[in-house]
Symmetry: C2
Subunit: 352 residues, 2 copies
């Protein structure tokens, strides 16, 4: 009768559940290092903050813990419709860890909540394997989670996902939106598509224009489903790479993860009062999916408020470090572009 299972609970006797728990535990183990010290069957996941063993040695002087919660929004419905579930797991991790690193934190561990009509181990394994893949990309441990089977709340085939990330940053190294100042340059990191925001508009456009998800439209080099369900890019490695490389000089003064609200709302969140951002939208070329959607009849202004438009993450950097930071980012495989600057003015973002 128990309709929920706890990931750590290997003692569940129902067969589908047992198979499901085994799959989850295997996915979890693929993300663990020696810092994870909880037993299978425990009520909670345990993670050592400090540890002396090399090569992962860590010692925090004044650790500030960082917590995020997020879902993947209505992208989940498009994933269900097209049977592309694995990427949703990566999206879920990405939405959380990309938020987490904006304050300078390194992700430590992740937990998920997966609510379903019924536990179908094969189908759900795809999601959990995606979550584990996202955790490996972000260098964090999948420490636990919860699967809730609720047929009266979720329609047949439906499911929802929520994720939670915990990270840590030294108190002296917190980037908290008070450090940016006029003259700082804005470096944009390319997105790989729509990421996980704006799908309510995307789905409306699909309905109104009767778009075929399996069709390869002329302007796109893949099927629409492939473009729309591509997992959100995870920026942990390049961003922590920059922060660690300039450990004492601290050239990064602010960071923004471009989610709902687009560049205007999210870049504003990383600025202190008295600072405005000026972004030159001609400094990069949005991927083909954005003009494709815009041509279906969306105002340019709305496009920038709903979508990332090709820039998934923004760093404000002191001017004399810009070329060095750009080199580190590009060497790490990012496509980094100078997209604007911080000016004196009322807090806000001006798109040019």
């Amino acid at each position: 009768m128990a309709k929920t299972t706890t990931y750590q609970d290997a003692g569940v006797s129902i067969t589908a559940n047992a198979r499901w728990v085994a799959r989850i535990q295997s996915a979890m183990r693929s993300t663990h290092d020696i810092r994870v010290c909880s037993r299978a069957g425990a009520f909670a996941g345990l993670f050592r903050l400090d540890f002396d063993e090399r090569p992962l040695r860590r010692r925090y002087e004044k650790p500030v813990l960082v917590g995020c919660a997020d879902g993947v929004g209505t992208k989940v419905l498009l994933g269900i419709k097209t049977g592309r579930l694995r990427g949703l797991g990566i999206d879920l991790v990405a939405m959380n860890v990309n938020d987490l690193i904006t304050c300078g934190a390194e992700p430590l561990f992740f937990l998920d909540y997966l609510a379903v009509h019924e536990i179908d181990p094969d189908r759900l394994s795809e999601i959990v394997e995606g979550i584990a893949e996202g955790c490996r990309q972000a260098g964090c441990a999948l420490l636990g989670g919860e699967t809730a089977e609720m047929p009266d709340l979720y329609q047949k085939g439906h499911l929802d996902l929520a994720g939670f990330a915990t990270g840590v940053v030294e108190q002296t190294r917190v980037i908290d939106g008070r450090r940016a100042s006029p003259g700082d340059m804005l470096i944009g990191l390319a997105s790989n598509g729509i990421h996980s925001n704006g799908y309510t508009l995307v789905r409306r456009l699909i309905r109104e224009h009767r778009l075929r998800l399996n069709h390869c439209y002329e302007k796109l080099s893949e099927t629409l489903a492939e473009v729309l369900l591509r997992p959100t890019r995870i920026y942990v490695t390049p961003v922590l790479g920059v922060l660690n490389k300039y450990h004492t000089k601290r050239p990064v003064t602010g960071m923004a993860h471009i989610t709902g609200g687009g560049l205007p709302e999210n870049v504003a969140r990383m600025l202190p009062d008295g600072c405005a951002a000026e972004i030159d939208t001609r400094s990069w070329t949005p991927p083909p999916i954005f003009p494709f959607l815009q041509n279906l009849g969306v105002q340019r202004h709305e496009m920038f408020r709903v979508f990332n438009m090709g820039i998934g993450f923004v760093l404000a950097v002191k001017p004399r470090f810009v070329s060095g930071v750009m080199k580190v980012l590009n060497a790490g495989g990012e496509s980094a572009t100078i997209i604007g600057r911080v000016k004196r003015g009322r807090r806000g973002v001006k798109l040019m």
Copy 2:
């Protein structure tokens, strides 16, 4: 068009959203102490682990972080049906922090995910105020969260809740299910009813027997709705009280939060190999709701596998400390009873 809001994001312009965000921020603030150091509008919540300021001074030598994720299962459907939403917020916190403390950890912060058909600030405020109330009871900060409005995934009026708690425990003080040994006594803490497990069975019984939720049945001193929607008891204060009182002697060798699977499955999770628990079910009297449900035709065995049967939390305690621990618990307002003992044997629970 942005259909999700981040709690920290005070910049959302849509009116209902703005009102909702204001309510959330007020609820969040009611749970914060000086350890919370994130700004409104930040992408993530920040929480200082160590801090020097009195009276809350904390210094962790070898901190082990603890993470939990949980929902409230199908109790949410009964809460929606009866319009009793506030308690669901307390349930959500309880399900997580009661798991968290089993390893000896103190809760630090909590985040929630709230998925709804539509954002109705008045209705959802009840839930968030319940979450804040639960956080205050558990002594943890509501650090952030996510509200997702997804009309195509949730039916009108429907919603779902997930929660996530982070805590900390000194490495030398972790209670990890390896410490219990034969001779230890089991102390049970009274539940205040069904808590948050077994509602799939409860709802089936309501349907089959056409029970009236607003009726005050003879065997119950309140309406069925009042009994069934009572928020889960939070055991943080009494349990941490015991752990802190016996700081060096460490008399508590294992703890279990009694959730899905009941006493048999959950007490088994706190035992090492080679240890069995013997529980004398005559040592306490289950609250009236349990015989009420059992009399509708549920096997006694099934009752114990699905419900807590009146015991919400179990501590294994070294024999010579039992009376002292009982005194601390009862003085703190708990109803503590010796319900059994740990014996040599195959890991499992024997109900007598």
